[in-house]
Amino acid sequence: MNVADIANAIQDTDFFTSMRESALVYPIVLSTHLSMIAIFGGLILLTDLRLLGATLKSTPPSEIVRRTRPLKWVGFLVMITCGILLGGAKFASYYDNPYFIAKMSLLACVGIHALVFRRSVYGNPQAIDDPKGPPRAAKIAAVLSMVLWVGILSNGRWIAYYEKPDQYPRRAEPAAQVQP
């Protein structure tokens, strides 16, 4: 059993097959997946802009980081759930799609980003609420956050445009073909 077999087994489960073949469920899940970046992207953008000192300057950035966090999690969980449904339904053609791999890697980078900047930015109100403005680390974190999310949505879109170089590799000709 290789990776391709596992990927096929996943998308061939009854659940993912019906998901893939449904004329209505698939586009609804896809639309929901996409709406989440539209509905909850504003929270991310506002946080990043505040860390860059571009908006709402009268309030400490830590306040915005803290207050927007619960809603960001809601959007993230809905998005991931829809993403798993979409990815599972077509996993055999996704697992070796370079754009899918890039998207998943960037998503992992979002997690790493959160861990790396927790001590210096997101979990450090004293540093980011400095009256002189957020420190350089906060600005780097904000720019990286925007770059990562644009990268994720771009790679996500590009998944659909990838064609495998040779989807049906030719097998070696059998030694002797007996015609009936």
Partner: protein, 149 residues
């Protein structure tokens, strides 16, 4: 059938592999920015986030980003539509999308703005914000359903 004196095959977007998806990415990133900043005000009207601010403060803080996003999302959308104008024109999902888009923009700059800038009763805020979220989500949904109809 509508006839237009234009051959989509001459469109540069139909003649290389990367420009069409590139415009789609710009389109998606910019509706994330425009709708996302509108939704932020809606979440405040619903009382779900940043209660330290008034909806009016959040609207003022984000209105420039909303407008910039809307301008770019519509421009990139027009570019995308040039790749096959007639198929968009005759697609019912696309027609509903345009209708909802016009309604959502009008709503955003009239009722939505007026309510966000004033101290309206909570019930009014919830209704106005809910309708705003529903309208903008329907635009996104119809954009996807274009490809499935």
């Amino acid at each position: 059938m509508l006839q237009i004196n234009y051959d989509p095959a001459t469109n540069p977007l139909n003649n290389n592999e990367w420009s069409f998806p590139l415009f789609e990415c710009i389109h998606i990133a910019m509706f994330a920015m425009s709708v996302g900043t509108i939704a932020l005000v809606d979440f405040r009207l619903l009382g779900l986030t940043l209660r330290k601010y008034t909806a009016a403060q959040l609207l003022k803080a984000t209105s420039m980003w909303t407008l910039a996003g809307l301008v770019i999302v519509i421009s990139s959308g027009l570019v995308i539509a040039t790749t096959d104008p007639l198929s968009y024109y005759y697609n019912p999902a696309f027609r509903y999308k345009m209708l909802m888009l016009v309604l959502a923009i009008l709503y955003n700059y009239t009722i939505h703005r007026k309510v966000a800038m004033s101290q309206a009763p909570a019930a009014v805020n919830v209704l106005v914000a809910g309708l705003s979220l529903a309208m903008w989500m329907s635009v996104v949904f119809l954009g996807i359903f274009y490809a499935f109809t």
